[in-house]
């Protein structure tokens, strides 16, 4: 049989003879087996054996949610692999036989938080093992704090691991620390100190005696099952919180059973007398994608009509419906058609442009040679993408003309410093004024505090009224549906103005609240300059006004912005009432696309809500799927007044809807995790940022998206 091969099939491009194959040949092309060895999550989370880590890493972009129980500990961990060579994780450890003293509830178990890192130093090769350096329970209370150097080497179905551990991991070793030769500070290690939760105490790193740990993992002939044997370097007589455990044997035995792509179960026998049970859910963020079967089909390219259409209203309707373009203006200048529009649907602007080319080609006569797409966002001009119309038409007819079209494509900065109408005959304009709204569920939650898991599920009504291209009212109304905030009881100590620690009062006292109600105006101030001003109820806890200016050259890896706001604290019921506290807050921010593994660095210096001065570092990585993972930390002059945690920090994952739904979308949702809500280093949650609004000043994957111009959903 002949296979219907799409004109753009990659196989076809590679193989000169265009071959059809008989069907049985294709059915067998199954993906190769997932390598199971060296993929298991340890009891603490992160790739390893049971109690001990290995030098193995998860695939890039992997995220694992992990639960594990070995009496008296229950551990809940999230691990991510943001780089090939870096594993990061955070964990809650619940200690079943110790009470949570800060909690009013005597039944509640002690809960400890921890952060882990593992860095790969060397990739395995024929002779050398894989080598990694890791930090477990880094900073924080450090109850389980350890540092380790570990090597893993595979031999067919066996994966051997041997490591040296400092701290918890090596507590049973009792070997002298060779680093003591360098400095006396490596001689001994302080025991844990729960009073200094969140402090980053570097003084103890790699100090104290060291111990050896290691083990072997065996891939059984039955692929989903691996077995582990481990030598545990810990000394269970010195468990934290004066909680010694009996250890009959330093050897632990375990098995891991993988149930499909996303779930695996673990069971084991540890310390010679204690059972271990574990469960891991995992997914890969780097490759998350979904076939776009819900998108409209691109229009078929036809012969150009003999005369150009007069019905630009209809053209702009088609551009909106099929190409995801909200058209602001269409202008004809000699043989050029200039379309000024905002992207509303496809993450790739080239996909939008390819679809628009088809629509315009079928409506404009042969004498129009160039289609120019001037992209705008919130009324601000971003860039100019230029297509040779005839080259497009030829390429649509035959792949032989691909190169001519592809290499003829170009994008440029807007050379005029303002967004006035281009010269030429104006065919269509729309001031973009209009109203839209959306109803969606929302979740507020607080995990891991002394009150346990607090949540609030609410219905969220979003409404926008756009007054013109550059101005709009936005509002967000929240109606509480279910919550367990009656359990809310704990209020953190604070020597700073209570700018964030009233969070529980806000959640508790609001059944119907206004989360946001503001007017925003934007302007393009110069060739590379953008501005925005806003006023109203800016966020859940603050009302006021402010503005931002951003310098962002076209397709540049760096941008700089400054924002300044005056805000007043809102009443707990989240209506229009205000409390007494008011302040000035603002930041100067540098945005740097580092060029290293798609990492974006953001550094902000300024004044925070409690009046403290400081700096925020934010590092994030975006995968090809559009998913972004990042972490931030803020250091301010609040110092000891900050209280538990010492400084503000957190992780986030931003997930584009595009990765999960069968219709294209430019929207994303962000899930952030902040271990502690405190008053120091608290930032105003501004609803819009100029850096976000002007994201298409960057070319991103534009040039790599070429093949998608020809994709049929």
């Amino acid at each position: 049989m002949m296979l219907p091969i799409s004109r753009r099939s990659r196989t076809l491009r590679r193989a000169t003879p265009a071959m059809g194959l008989s069907l049985p040949l294709l059915l067998g092309a199954a993906p190769h087996a997932i390598a199971e060895l060296g993929a298991a999550q340890s009891d603490f989370g992160g790739v390893g054996l049971m109690q001990t880590p290995s030098a193995r890493m998860a695939p890039l972009g992997e995220i694992s949610l992990h639960y594990n129980h070995v009496s008296p500990y229950s551990r809940y961990q999230v691990s991510v692999q943001p780089m090939d060579w870096l594993e990061a994780g955070f964990r809650y450890t619940s200690i079943g036989n110790r009470d949570y003293r800060a909690s009013g509830d005597a039944e509640r178990d002690y809960l400890d938080k921890g952060i882990d890192f593992k860095l790969r130093l060397h990739q395995e090769d024929r002779y050398m093992p894989a080598l990694a350096l890791g930090f477990r329970d880094f900073g924080g209370t450090g109850l389980f704090g350890s540092e380790y150097l570990v090597a893993s080497k595979r031999w067919n179905d066996f994966d051997f691991t041997l490591g040296l551990g400092w701290g918890y991991l090596g507590a049973g070793g009792g070997l002298g620390n060779p680093l003591s030769a360098l400095s006396g500070r490596f001689d001994s290690r302080r025991s844990e100190n729960p009073e200094e939760a969140g402090d980053f105490e570097f003084g103890d790193l790699f100090s104290g005696d060291i111990g050896v740990f290691g083990g072997v993992e065996y891939q059984t002939p039955w692929e989903p099952l691996t077995l582990q044997l481990e030598y545990d370097g810990n000394d269970y007589r010195s468990e934290p919180l004066d909680n010694p455990q009996r250890q009959r044997s330093p050897l632990n035995l375990g098995a891991r059973w993988r149930l499909g792509e996303h779930l695996s179960l673990a069971a084991g026998w540890e310390r010679g007398d204690t059972a271990m049970l574990g469960l891991t859910l995992s997914a890969n963020l780097a490759g998350a994608s979904q076939a776009k079967t819900g998108d409209p089909h691109p229009v078929t390219v036809a012969e150009p009509p003999s005369r150009t259409t007069d019905d630009w209203q209809a053209v702009s309707r088609d551009l909106q419906a099929n190409a995801g373009m909200r058209v602001h203006r269409i202008t004809r200048r000699d043989d050029e058609l200039v379309v000024e529009a905002e992207a509303t649907r496809y993450r790739s602007l080239l996909v939008s442009e390819g679809r628009a080319n088809r629509i315009l080609n079928n409506r404009t006569a042969d004498d129009i040679d160039t289609y120019r797409y001037r992209w705008q966002s919130a009324g601000m001009g971003l860039r100019d993408d230029v297509h040779d119309r005839h080259a497009f038409r030829r390429a649509a007819a035959s792949a032989a003309y691909d190169q001519q079209y592809h290499y003829g494509l170009y994008a440029s900065a807007l050379t005029r410093p303002d967004d006035g109408a281009p010269d030429g005959e104006q065919l269509y304009t729309d001031d973009l004024a209009g109203f839209d709204w959306q109803l969606a569920p929302g979740l507020n939650q607080n995990i891991g505090g002394p009150d346990g898991f607090l949540y609030q599920l609410y219905a969220k009504l979003d409404a926008n009224y756009r007054t013109d291209a550059n101005g709009w009212f936005s509002g967000q109304l929240a109606l509480n549906l279910f919550d367990n905030l009656d359990r809310y009881d704990y209020i953190a100590d604070s020597k700073l103005p209570r700018v964030r620690t009233h969070i529980g009062d806000y959640l508790d006292q609001t059944s119907l609240g206004i989360y946001n109600l503001q007017y925003t105006r934007t302007a393009r101030l110069g060739e590379n300059w953008y501005g925005m001003a806003y006023a109203g109820l800016l966020e859940m806890m603050y009302a006021g006004g402010g503005g931002e200016v951003l310098y962002r050259p076209f397709d540049s890896p760096v941008a700089f912005g400054v924002d300044l706001n005056w805000v007043k604290q809102r009443d707990f019921d989240q209506r229009f009432g205000l409390r007494d506290y008011s302040t000035w807050t603002g930041h100067a921010t540098a945005y740097i696309e580092t060029g290293v593994e798609d990492v974006l660095a953001q550094v902000s210096v300024g004044r925070y809500l409690a009046g403290d001065l400081g700096v925020t570092f934010d590092l994030s990585r975006q995968f090809d799927s559009g998913v972004r993972v990042g972490a931030w930390s803020t250091f301010t002059d609040a110092g000891d007044d900050y209280g538990e945690g010492s400084f503000d920090k957190g992780f986030y994952v931003s997930i584009p809807f595009d990765a999960f739904f069968d219709t294209s979308s430019r929207n994303a949702t962000t899930i952030a995790w902040q271990p502690l809500t405190r008053d120091g280093g608290a930032r105003l949650a501004r609803r819009y940022t100029l850096y976000g609004l002007t994201q298409d000043r960057e070319m991103g994957h534009y040039w790599q998206d070429y093949d998608r111009v020809w994709d049929e959903p």
Binding site: M19, L21, A29
Partner: protein, 133 residues
């Protein structure tokens, strides 16, 4: 569709009964069996053919290429379909060997994946020819 004039040949192949191993010892054809994997293929080869290779390239009949580990420290396994070709990396650390490792799979990806293939040149579609590759 691409312009017909740009194509060398069009056609289809009957499913062959073999898989091919391209090793430092030469090219060997083995009978394909259901459930065959790269590992069972390697086991069927003499030890000297496996040499000290650490990677292999698997070329599927549609011209897709995947590189897999094959040594004790990195071995992976993939299912083979009839007409697959497996190229073992040359156990030499030289520029010319690296060039062969990179180029030979690319070349094989353009070869017909069978012995009995019906192909015809697009500009003479009526002249059916039988090619043995």
């Amino acid at each position: 569709m691409p312009a017909l004039a740009d194509l060398d040949r069009l056609g289809w192949c009957e499913t062959p009964s073999w898989v091919e191993a391209w090793t430092p010892r030469g090219v060997t054809r083995l009978d394909w069996r259901p459930g065959m994997t790269t590992e069972t293929l390697l086991e069927a080869l003499p030890e000297s053919a496996r040499a000290q290779s650490e990677h292999l390239a698997l070329i599927d009949p549609r011209g897709g290429i995947r590189r897999l580990g094959m040594a004790a420290w990195n071995h992976e396994s993939a299912t083979l379909v009839p007409g697959s070709r497996v190229v073992l990396q040359l156990p030499l650390d030289e520029v010319s060997a690296r060039w062969v490792d990179a180029s030979l799979p690319d070349f094989l990806a353009t070869r017909l994946p069978g012995d009995i293939c019906r192909t015809f040149t697009p500009d003479a579609a009526s002249r059916l020819t039988t090619a043995t590759d």
